[in-house]
């Protein structure tokens, strides 16, 4: 039986903004159904990495492959059409759209569009608060509601690779539970996930592997339990307190 290509293969990638290089020589591989979590200090390139993979930023060196196909020159909108789904930091909702319209945009690709009715029902079922607010304009929602819409929008289609940037940022614990339940459901469907997160409680259950990104470089990779046992990392990034 032939070995399947990794869903995502990033080799030697550097990227940044203008003259500034933020991530350097990064290697990442994600197999089908795997959940990989990136941790590390703020401002050290986790968001930049996701934006480079999704195509919002161009990589200055290295290769990025989706399902074995090189996508370096492929634009973000085309990568999205190929099954890459990026839920960015800061939500990026469409402020003048209602909750429902925002969610429907998640089903924009033609194949997803046909099933949008069902998808909408499914997502509103996952996030009951949104069901009550479906005709409300996005810019009037609270932070937690906005995050639910952002995640929900990502659930409107079936991606092959899901990039999520700090889903629990700024949220209260109850909503974080709801959000991670949804992410767990996606993970159960064999979707490859690259998650950037600070909240370790959920990382341990969800992650197959954890990578530490420091100063734009991958400095450590391993199983969640290994990294949790490593005191320096545990305290700095994972919020695990010394017993």
């Amino acid at each position: 039986m032939a070995e399947a290509e990794p869903v995502l293969s990033v080799r030697g990638v550097s990227a940044g903004y203008g003259e500034t290089t933020v991530i350097r020589d990064v290697d990442v591989t994600i197999e089908r159904g795997e959940t990989l979590v990136f941790v590390g200090p703020n401002g050290h390139g986790k968001t930049t990495l996701l934006r480079t993979i999704s195509g919002l930023i161009g990589a200055s060196t290295g290769t990025i492959e989706l399902d074995g196909v090189r996508v370096n020159g492929v634009r973000a909108e085309d990568r999205a059409a190929r099954g890459l789904l990026h839920i960015p930091q800061g939500d990026h909702l469409f402020p003048g759209f209602t909750v429902e319209e925002n969610l429907l945009m998640g089903a924009f690709p033609r194949t997803a569009w046909r099933g949008r009715g069902e998808a909408l029902d499914r997502v509103l079922g996952l996030f009951p608060t949104l069901r009550d607010r479906r005709s409300q304009l996005a810019h009037t929602l609270s932070g937690g509601e906005r995050r639910q819409v952002a995640i929900g929008r990502g659930l409107m289609r079936d991606p092959t690779l899901l990039l999520i940037d700090e889903p629990s940022l700024g949220l209260g614990p109850m909503i974080v539970e709801t959000v991670y339940e949804a992410i767990g459901q996606i993970a159960a469907q064999d979707v490859a996930i690259l998650l950037v997160e600070e909240n370790f409680t959920h990382i341990e259950e969800l992650a197959d592997r954890v990578c530490v990104l420091e100063m734009g470089r991958v400095v450590r990779t391993g199983l969640p339990a290994e990294l949790a046992a490593d005191d320096t990392i545990a305290q700095s990034y994972l919020g695990v307190l010394e017993p």
Partner: protein, 295 residues
């Protein structure tokens, strides 16, 4: 009273024509973030196509409108591909300023080519439809005016429906709100942009046929519509379609009133005065958003 009716009639006619050009312009700004200075040329080209079809070829006004639509749509697409598309995502350039200049350059080229090919003289164009209805004491409303207003309003309504009810219409509205988010949902912006600009230019082209029928076709026929379109879109709020619609009739009203009561020479300075006032006091216009305007 005669004056009032006359003003209202002018308002409807002018407002509908301005609306077509302004809606195109504000659509282009909202979606592409380009202040398209070539919209005036599209009006001019539309007028010439209308003249050519109706006068030279002697075909019906309907064909003239369709031909003008097609010609200016193509021209708009080409303009976008040449003067906007290559600048998308380019580092080290101020996109909005540079595209202001490049679309301005395209307008320069088109106007000058028209001058070379057609000569500076004004070409009179037969009215689309003959006949009129007398409204009140010598003030008549021509059937042509009614048709123009009707077509303009119908087009604007159709556009509104498309934008709110269709998949790509929603995608276009999404792009106007958050480009990156739209891209991440898979919206093919590089294919969308030329089409949006083509369509907006085509609206101006149709306005051009109307203007030519009302007045005449000439290579310089695009200058005034461009300036007035700028005034209308700023008044309504750059990027806002309802704003452009309302502002078009408002500006039509102001111009009609000024022309009737004070005389045509002062109508343009007054309009400019209005726009300067708007830019100083409330630059986001009627329906624009303040946060996008201030430094």
């Amino acid at each position: 009273m005669t004056d009032l009716i006359s003003i209202l009639v002018s308002t409807v006619v002018l407002g509908s024509i301005y609306g077509l050009v302004a809606i195109g312009m504000t659509l282009i700004y909202g979606i592409l973030r380009v202040l398209d200075m070539s919209q005036g040329s599209m009006v001019m080209v539309g007028g010439f196509v209308g003249w050519a079809v109706m006068t030279s070829a002697g075909l019906s006004p309907l064909i003239a409108i369709v031909a003008a639509f097609a010609a200016t749509f193509a021209l708009g697409v080409i303009t976008q591909l040449v003067s906007v598309q290559p600048l998308l995502g380019k580092r080290g350039v101020e996109f909005e300023m540079i595209t202001f200049i490049t679309t301005f350059a395209v307008a320069m080229i088109i106007a000058n080519l028209a001058l070379q090919i057609a000569g500076p003289s004004q070409r009179s164009v037969p009215p689309l439809v003959d006949g009129s209805v007398e409204l009140y004491d010598g003030v008549s409303l021509s059937y042509q005016s009614m048709i123009m207003a009707g077509v303009a309003i119908a087009l604007m309504v159709a556009l509104g429906l498309y934008l709110t009810r269709s998949r790509y219409g929603m995608a276009i509205r999404a792009v106007a709100q958050d480009l990156d988010a739209a891209r991440l949902q898979g919206v093919p912006i590089r294919r969308l942009f030329p089409i949006v600009m083509g369509f907006a230019s085509a609206l101006a082209g149709i306005a051009g046929v109307f203007l030519a029928a009302q007045y005449f076709a000439s290579p310089s026929a695009g200058e005034l519509p461009l300036l007035i379109a700028l005034i209308v879109v700023v008044f309504g709020g750059l990027g806002s379609l309802p704003g452009a619609l309302v502002a078009a009739y408002a500006i039509g009203l102001i111009q009609a009133t000024a022309s009737t009561l004070i005389g045509t020479t002062w109508s343009l300075p007054i309009l400019y005065g209005v726009i300067l006032l708007v830019l100083v006091v409330r630059p986001q216009g009627l329906f624009g958003q303040a946060r996008e305007v201030r430094l």
